[in-house]
Amino acid sequence: MTTQLTRRPAIQPKRMVVKTLQYSLLVFFLAFFLIPIYVVLVTSLKPLDQVSLQTMWDLPTGIDIANYVLAWEKLGPSIGNSFYLVIPAALLAALLGSLNGYVLSKWKFPGSELIFTLILFGMFIPYQAILIPLVQTVRELGLYGGIPGLILVHVIYGLPIMTLIFRNYYLSVPDELIEAALVDGSGIFKTYWLIIFPISIPAFIVGIIWEFTSIWNDFLFAVVLPAQTLGRLPLP
């Protein structure tokens, strides 16, 4: 680079222009991504009489946390509910996904690739396509209107993506590790439990965070299979 600079001094200002352009673009997109977040934060800190669409860009005159207190009072119980739903569902989905990923990457059998592809398809289906039978089934299982029903649904439909995450993670684990355990007399499950599970922490973190956010942000299942508003959908 230095040799080029001495040979062609004209490159210096050109580089400056490029850099300035780059950083202007970076800052422009910073604003693009942060504007809605700014609006939410600023509005949340305003007292109620200052909140109006016309003054949405203005900073609040002072910091008022009354909205947060109110929100906490109203949402507190539901947040408890959310954790009671999200934590077991995310853990269970990750654990099952990890077992599936282990088998599909290290214990392949004829047809296992096809099974993997069929599992993966479950990740892409629009949930509308299974919604009617799902509501009927959850009802027949006696789980309608309760959190266990929602846990069941989230674990099942979380399985495909969890299987994918863990399978791809285990593909990078050397086969020799498994073979060594087998030579020492471990079976398929013992090898998983003693060798693979302890080294799966990074994949578990990725998987659980993914499941956690997608269940937390879920809307469709939570309205169709409401946890609290019993009788909102009087289906047969």
Binding site: Q22, Y23, L25, L26, F29, L30, F33, L34, P36, I37, V39, V40, T43, S52, L53, Q54, W57, L99, N100, Y102, V103, L104, W107, K108, F109, P110, S112, E113, I115, L118, I119, L120, F121, G122, F124, I125, P126, Q128, A129, I130, L131, I132, P133, L134, I156, Y157, L159, T163, G187, I188, F189, T213, W216, N217, F219, L220, V224, L233, L235, P236
Partner: protein
Amino acid sequence: MKTIKRHGASIALLLPSIVVLAIFVYGFIGVNLSISLTDEQGLNAESNFVGLDNYFALLDDPRFHIDVWNTLVFSVAFIFCSLFLGLGLAILIDQKIRAEGFFRSIYLLPMAVSFIVTGVVWRWLMNPAEGSRMSGLNLLFDTLGLDFLINQWHLTPTWGMLGIALPAIWQMSGYTMALFLAGLRSIPEEVKEAARTDGASEFVIYLRIILPMIRPVALSAIVILGHISLKVFDLIIAIAGKQLSLDVPAIYMWQTTFDAYNFARGATLATYILVSVAIFVIPYLIVTSRKERA
């Protein structure tokens, strides 16, 4: 004998997931399909086989025509813009800039927000009121002297879905950037170095070498964005509620099934959505699994 035992154990471990997914994915798709071939009306127990009548009826349904148009407008705008914005941002971030981690994290931030929250904020930002009641982005444009940018957003006739696509692009382009960035970073430095030695400019290197090499990433991104756009639902509800001009098949399905108890029509709409997603996804899954086996 040994292989049977070996395979038996692995199948046994997989079996619970296979059974559950076979029922809850494939079985339910089958049930849904069979409902769509009847005239089932929720509470009424009796239903008759009507063949493909529901499918033809929808093709003549003006509301379904609006839905198809809206989905098309939304999908094209959303996929195209997210893809180009994502690629542009990835190239920008890849220019050995300072505070790269900071910019990258902020760009990715919207992805962690739920569509419902995104929708509510953008409903404020895209408020179409005029004059002294002007607010949101229109007010910002007015203050900055960019009057020509003031518009009706999602309430623009015919093209309103572009206003819905904007928040979706805001939310997903950072994620698309992350996909592309991983692709860019996986290209060995030697390849670029070799091209530079041969006298290629940075622009030519991107156009002729880097872009062709990250084509598989673009394909994955299109499939991921595509299946999101065909299923879009909660974002629209949060921004605009249920209004006919911004209707999509997912909302129609929801209303006709759970508000009007027309299960048969709901199931038919669901099948249409499923087929549109499958056209996208199945070829992709087949290609990827073939490539991995090779």
